[in-house]
Subunit: 537 residues, 2 copies
């Protein structure tokens, strides 16, 4: 009881009378006692202490004092080393200090200290800290997050971690914390949870909320529909600025990122936008029709997120209206979700290059990590055996000139590096839409040109070094020619492979480099050993 579900213990303790808690504490072993003590809310501490026997009271108070002292220590250190400039924002040292504090507190079992730290931090920061913790400690720390804020923290976690921690929660807590989320974040959360949990959350919503969320669940997570929120402020063009202002005053707090209002007609069809700053600077009697802009292009609900991100970036937008095929205003997309999307895309392309596209949790269990990575290793093994097969063709040659075996990895490796340089450029060009049939040929010519220049340069260098090493002119000549050929071939492959993959509907960022290294390995070994067979034997 005392270990597994700390949150539950806390909740129970909160409903118990101080005297009862006190007697409970007295029945526990000292270790359990301290653990339970760490779960008691601070305002209750004094009351509980009053009911305890004197020795125990001193013991636990000392426990608490230490905490207090530690805290003061922290603050002392902080304020003394803290200049005004330091205080500005959460610089990285601060993040790492927080992480260290949490790790130390976990080590020492001072859970209260973690709860106190968490209460001072932004949910996104808490999410970051939780992701930095190994799985077991993460669950412990997660229990110290107030459950009113748990939903917001979940929202900021990466998919994989989010799923794990949500599964740790009591269903009631989960539902309750989910209720505090905005619809778009709630949709994200439900999409990441097991279907059963998601359904439970849906059922806990009232009918109107449920219908909204369900309609949003039908869109692809990374399309405009999946990114949109429903908190837009839509008004009719006929009203005046004064009327709008009165309406806004009734709302009191505007949704975040409200830089524009949307104008709709009687049937809810999108007509244009009204920038919020126009409202600030306009006279109350002005009609909205005079201030609105009708040439602001809305976003269609099925537009892919990638294009949206580019538009936000290019046009420096804060929010855009989303419409359906009939032109009805459905919702809006705000820059915060676009920023998350851009960051995720960046991470995914980096992880994808190493075949880790789903590994968002640094501390995922060993077994599931192993399984996922094994796939990539297996694919690589196939290509490695292919290259080995090519070498196998020339066993006879290798037996006679063993120097070839020593030098052959050099040819393959130079080709691989040169090819991946070209590949990276082409993948980026495809991702930004800057590469089409019309300029691909010119890019290929350029890359081949680079291949020739660098091929010649390194052919001479490697040939010279090889002659120095083995004292055989013929080996130098063979390796030089092989490197030139392989660099040329790498340039061609670097351009052609991603273009072909794109046409076949395969993401070149994921599979491109495997195919490329296979090509450069095979060509490298074949050219080098083949030439050697012709020339040396």
């Amino acid at each position: 009881l005392a270990r597994s579900k700390r949150k539950r213990v806390r909740r129970i303790l909160r409903t118990m009378h101080p005297a009862k808690i006190a007697s409970l504490l007295e029945t526990l072993t000292p270790l359990q006692r301290v653990a339970v003590w760490q779960q008691i809310d601070e305002p209750h501490e004094a009351k509980v202490l009053a009911h305890l026997s004197p020795t125990m009271r001193d013991e636990l108070r000392r426990e608490g004092d230490q905490d207090g002292l530690d805290d003061q220590d922290d603050q002392g250190q902080t304020s003394s080393t803290k200049t005004l400039a330091d205080a500005a924002g959460e610089s990285k040292p601060a993040v790492q200090t927080q992480l260290r504090l949490v790790l130390e507190a976990l080590e020492a079992g001072k859970l209260k200290r973690i709860a106190r730290l968490f209460r001072k931090l932004h949910p996104a920061r808490i999410a970051g800290l939780l992701e930095s913790l190994p799985a077991a400690q993460r669950v412990v720390a997660w229990d110290m997050v107030d459950h009113e804020r748990a939903g917001k923290v979940l929202r900021h976690l990466h998919e994989e971690v989010r799923r794990r921690l949500a599964a740790e929660m009591d269903l009631d807590d989960l539902v309750e914390s989910a209720r505090g989320l905005e619809p778009d974040d709630l949709v994200d959360l439900i999409q990441d949870l097991p279907a059963k949990l998601g359904r439970e959350i849906l059922l806990a919503l009232n009918r109107r909320e449920r219908e909204r969320v369900e309609s949003m669940l039908s869109y692809d997570e990374e399309s405009a529909g999946g990114l949109m929120n429903l908190d837009q402020i839509a008004v009719r063009a006929e009203i005046s600025v004064g009327t709008l202002l009165r309406y806004l005053r009734v709302l009191d707090v505007l949704p975040p990122n409200t830089d524009k209002f949307f104008i709709v007609d009687r049937k809810g069809r999108y007509q244009g936008i009204l920038r919020a700053d126009r409202v600030l600077t306009a006279r109350p009697e002005t009609s909205i029709a005079d201030l609105m802009e009708t040439d602001f292009e809305p976003v269609s609900v099925d537009q892919p997120g990638e294009d949206l991100a580019r538009r936000f970036e290019d046009q420096d937008l804060i929010s855009v209206p989303v419409i359906d095929a009939g032109g009805h205003l459905l919702g809006r997309i705000t820059i915060d979700d676009i920023v998350d999307l851009i960051r995720e895309q960046g991470e995914r392309s980096m992880l994808g290059l190493a075949g880790l596209d789903e590994e968002t949790d640094m501390f995922a269990p060993v077994l599931s990590s192993s399984r996922r990575r094994a796939v990539w290793l297996g694919i690589n093994l196939l290509t490695a055996f292919l290259a080995a097969g090519v070498i196998g063709l020339f066993e006879g040659t290798l037996e006679q000139v063993v120097a070839l075996a020593v030098l052959m990895p050099i040819v393959a490796s130079m080709g691989g590096i040169a090819g991946s340089q070209t590949l990276t450029l082409v993948i980026r060009g495809l991702a930004t839409g800057q590469l089409v049939a019309g300029n691909a040929r010119i890019l290929m010519l350029k890359e081949v040109g680079i291949g020739v220049l660098n091929g010649l340069l390194w052919a001479v260098v490697v040939a010279a070094l090889s002659i120095l090493w083995f004292g055989q002119w013929a080996i130098g000549a063979v390796i030089g020619v092989a490197i030139l050929l392989n660099l040329l071939c790498a340039a061609l492959a670097g351009v052609v492979i991603p273009l072909v993959m794109r046409r076949l509907g395969i993401d070149p960022a994921l599979a491109g480099s495997v195919v490329l290294t296979t090509v450069t390995d095979v060509v490298g070994f074949f050219a080098f050993l083949g030439l050697a067979t012709l020339v040396l034997l």
Copy 2:
């Protein structure tokens, strides 16, 4: 004259009398004539035509009509295939269609068509199109950008392309178009230009502008100071909402991304923020002191951009105030610059992995691209020779068992893949600040665990395949053990190398993978060939 500097031709033509242009046109060869004709502004066309001889008039008019027809064609196609949903924003197909149009127009020499397209597009889109063009065509298309908009286009170009195109411009044009930029964008531009050009632009500004820009030039491009803009609206806490509104009405148009106003004291020291939507919903007589938030943390001018990006992301911000060490409000940073920063960081880390960190121009001249890439190939060559040296130690063994030469790349390649998976995770952990001394050990244990599991799995698979291939149990045993060892070593190296590099102040994202593959190659070859020497001989 007619070829090299089209912009100049256009300017001259604009100042000439239509009759003079007409007689000029009559003296030119037909090809030149069409080229010059393409430079005449549309409003002038009719006047010039009136002065031409009838045959020539028909000829050029046909030229123009074709253009018009083509245009109608385009529009016909567009509107027929265009649904309301399509029209929403610039989806990728549209981008690629535009690019194709530009390429075709360049091919056909129909420069007017490009100018007309550019006039309809957002500067960021024009920048994207220009970057997609090969160098020679890019200069031609660049000349078709109206010089009033050239500055804005420059702002959206990548550093390398920007520098080249700015160098193409007449100094006057450059200065003139630079003047239309906001201070922070202007600072960016000057930082990327050769020092001489930058100085010329500075001299062309008036004293107040120059002082502002100069003070901003002193900050690091990617620190808060380098990212900040000076267009913030700062007010004193004593005034009322009504006074603020009157002030805003005088300004009429607010700076973009104004989601909050900044409160300063008499000496310009930062006091807090006032959200723009609070102004919308407040009554005019309210004092700003009642609405302001004093707990919003400002950013110090020397804070690194990376931390800022994380804060914007975590807290969904639109703008933050920037202060100096004395707490004075200097400026503000807005989300648009942060989005650019995040995108650039993502691109840089992807390009950096292939040693291309400075290659932002897909169509950079062959020679300069070759030179930059040669560096990376050279570094790789050193490590390849190191690996070859290890193989060289075992020449004797290879001579006797040539199968080893066939299989040895497999061991090295599996280690390289496994290591780069670990490396990628650790680099990401370091970049996000989620990896510190306190949890690195646990991560290492986890990675070693994965290494053991995957090592065992693939050791068995590779051993079995090798035995099938070569029919020798001993070879299977040797390669199995070597793979297990190399995967373990790869896991350790993947964690340790980036941590050590970080401590030495080297960016692991740039150099990590080279060092890692060196380690896995060396260990792989050494373990495999060394074991084979012990067991097989």
